[in-house]
Amino acid sequence: MSTALEISALSKSFAGVQAIRDLSFTVPKGVSTALIGPNGAGKTTVFNMVSGVYGVDAGRITVNGVDVTRMPSRKRIGTGVARSFQNVRLMPHLSVLENLLVGQHVRASSLAALFTPYRLIPNHRWKREARAALEESGLGRWADETVSALPYGVRKRIDLVRATLAGASLLMLDEPAAGLNPSETNALRDHLKDLMAKGTTLLVVEHDMHFVDSICQNVVVLNFGEKIAEGPLSRVRQDPKVREAYIGSDGEA
């Protein structure tokens, strides 16, 4: 089985504080994985290093077989990895459709593509493709809206569509279910399952364990920047080290 993401012996410290310590784990293709752990355990830092927002102190990151450890952040999406942010970051000055069009950049970055007046061409294939992707996710009616006018749950899902249009086969989602109401959570879950059925692998940071349980086959638990457990959620959840990390050292009291 080939791997979507391989992290080996990764370390990172900020101003002398060790945020990630000798961390290794693998996300095989097709095996959606959750990265869990108490607040401050280093989960978002891992995302930031994989996407290139932070450099690494030591270790290696491989995405779909390509070593991206020293690759500029801008180039990494070309290897098939895209991410979402804790607070959805769609571009507020652009409409929904335009946000998706920016997502297509990796596949349309030549000079000719940059200066094609696609907005003057009715039904240009970029717009068609973006609209189709929206329709497919049941979000078609939002295409021409301003981003800020949309419900939070819809914004999160548009973020997903943007990542797929960028051709991402590995999606890193930072707390996708946070702030969603139950029906929005369900819509998001269905959307993610749909993506997984089409071959996308997910790496998810999430606190809602029911949500994790329903989409992830594997769980990696971090505490103080170190991996303390790994495996299926049902097993990890029984691990005393995990219980202690979550409930605290006097958990059994």
């Binding site: 101003a15 002398g16 504080v17 108490p38 607040n39 401050g40 419900p151 939070y152 707390e175 946070a178 702030g179 606190h207 809602d208 364990m209 029911h210 994790v212 349980d213 103080f224 959620l233 049902s234 959840r237 029984q238 995990v242 219980r243 979550y246 409930i247 605290g248 050292s249 006097d250 958990g251 009291a253």
Partner: protein
Amino acid sequence: MALLEVSALSVSYGRVAALIDVSLRVQEGEIVTVLGANGAGKSTLLKAILGAVPVKGGGITFADTDLTRAAPHRRMGAGLVLVPEGRRILISLTVEENLLLGAHMRRDTTAIRREMDAIYGRFSNLAERRHMLASCLSGGEQQMLAIGRAMMAKPRLMMLDEPSLGLSPLFVEKLFDLICELNRDGLSVLLVEQNTGKALKVAHAATVLELGRVTMDGDPKALAADPRLQDAYLGGAGGH
């Protein structure tokens, strides 16, 4: 009457409801802890009590004064103080200036000086570095500074937002000892914590938030034994 009385408080960020009908009270001299997974609304609750986020509905009464619409500086003048999440030490100020900042609303210079010396007595690490920029402190020392800074406001109720976050186990011990010590000296405490076990052990009362609502509250010992509490964190621990 309770020192702090929060009744049916609601807060929204845009369309997202962060708190829905949350009620809570802290009696004089108590430690009350608020538990819940990330995103449950705990930080929002503390910020709303401080007045740093606007309230949509409900009321906040502190020391028999209705503070629901008061500005943060007025609430702090009444004796409320927050030790914010992530400590929020000012890195362009020295350690001592951070402490003095805590007392920025007070005029009693000699008392301020005396209390600062007491804090230095308690935290010798801070005393040694009093004239250095606060950015040189370790995470644990920064947390001590944040608490010291809050002490300098001479509060009646101290709210702490995830004080143990990112601290080593040894420091977490020290931190909880400190909270208990301050409480014994007469300070009331409202504590938001990830470290549920420890928090329940020191608290006189506890409230659990889930998705912005109070789902459980009452005696911390009973809560600690309640399997539903673990469910709130680990999603059906023990299996359904």
